[in-house]
Amino acid sequence: MSEDIKNFLYLNRRAPYGTIYAWESLEVVLIGAAFDQKVSLAFVDDGVFQIVKGQDTSDLDMKNFSPTYSALGDYDVNQLYVEQESLDERGLTIDDLMHLTWEDEDEDWAEKDSIRVVSRAELAKIIEGQDVVFSF
């Protein structure tokens, strides 16, 4: 395998259960974590619903995969961008989202927030700085 390290962004644009894109995106993230790239995730449009807390799919006959997002920190996936405008347009705030954290090995395993709310303009710059954008 090449030793190049690239900036990978997974762009999550869709609500979690209406289509399979969100879940199959997460499967790529988990597999991709083994490749030691610089990984971040972005949640935009209805994609912000993927990380809303208190998800309950018991009436849908579908697996609730939202706990998987809490495990991302253990895979060294700890840069999660959420677009402010997408939250605003849906009447959501950061308090409606799961509290996703990671432990910083370099600071005595201090617990840090994985989610960063950014503006649409900031996110555009973040996307521009990527080598690879997986769009789901």
Partner: protein, 130 residues
């Protein structure tokens, strides 16, 4: 330039596979390299040899297979997505106790690591889908 291609939608329902085919074919004809074509989500449906479109329509699966034959293309179908959607090769049929296979022999079933590797090894990853 070296490209990786990802196709996220099935044949006929959606233009993604057609657009990806046109892009891949033209890129190859202009001398570019296609490191791999990766079929994900419903895109795995582009690989079944049992597809039988009307005679006056394009044959999406055979068209990919012919392009792959001509240019020695590596066309990979995601195993997890394929298992969910009933796309089966000999190995998967044996592993999962199925009585048939349906994959076209020009395609191969493998893991998501093949997609990540393709993105690392290529200069551009081009994703086709909504």
């Amino acid at each position: 330039m070296k490209f990786a291609i990802q196709i996220n939608e099935g044949p006929y329902q959606h233009q993604a596979s057609d657009s990806a085919y046109m892009f891949t074919k033209n890129a190859l004809e202009k001398g570019h390299e296609i490191f791999r074509v990766f079929f994900y989500h419903d895109g795995v449906g582009n690989s079944t040899r049992l597809t039988s479109p009307p005679q006056d329509d394009r044959h999406v699966v055979n068209r990919w297979a012919e392009l792959a034959e001509k240019h020695d293309l590596d066309m990979v179908v995601c195993v997890a997505a394929a298992q969910r959607r009933g796309v089966v090769d000999d190995g998967e049929a044996e592993r999962n106790g199925k009585d048939a296979t349906n994959i076209h022999p020009r395609f191969r079933i493998s893991g998501l690591g093949q997609l990540v590797e393709a993105a690392i090894q290529s200069e551009r990853l081009v994703v086709f889908g909504d």
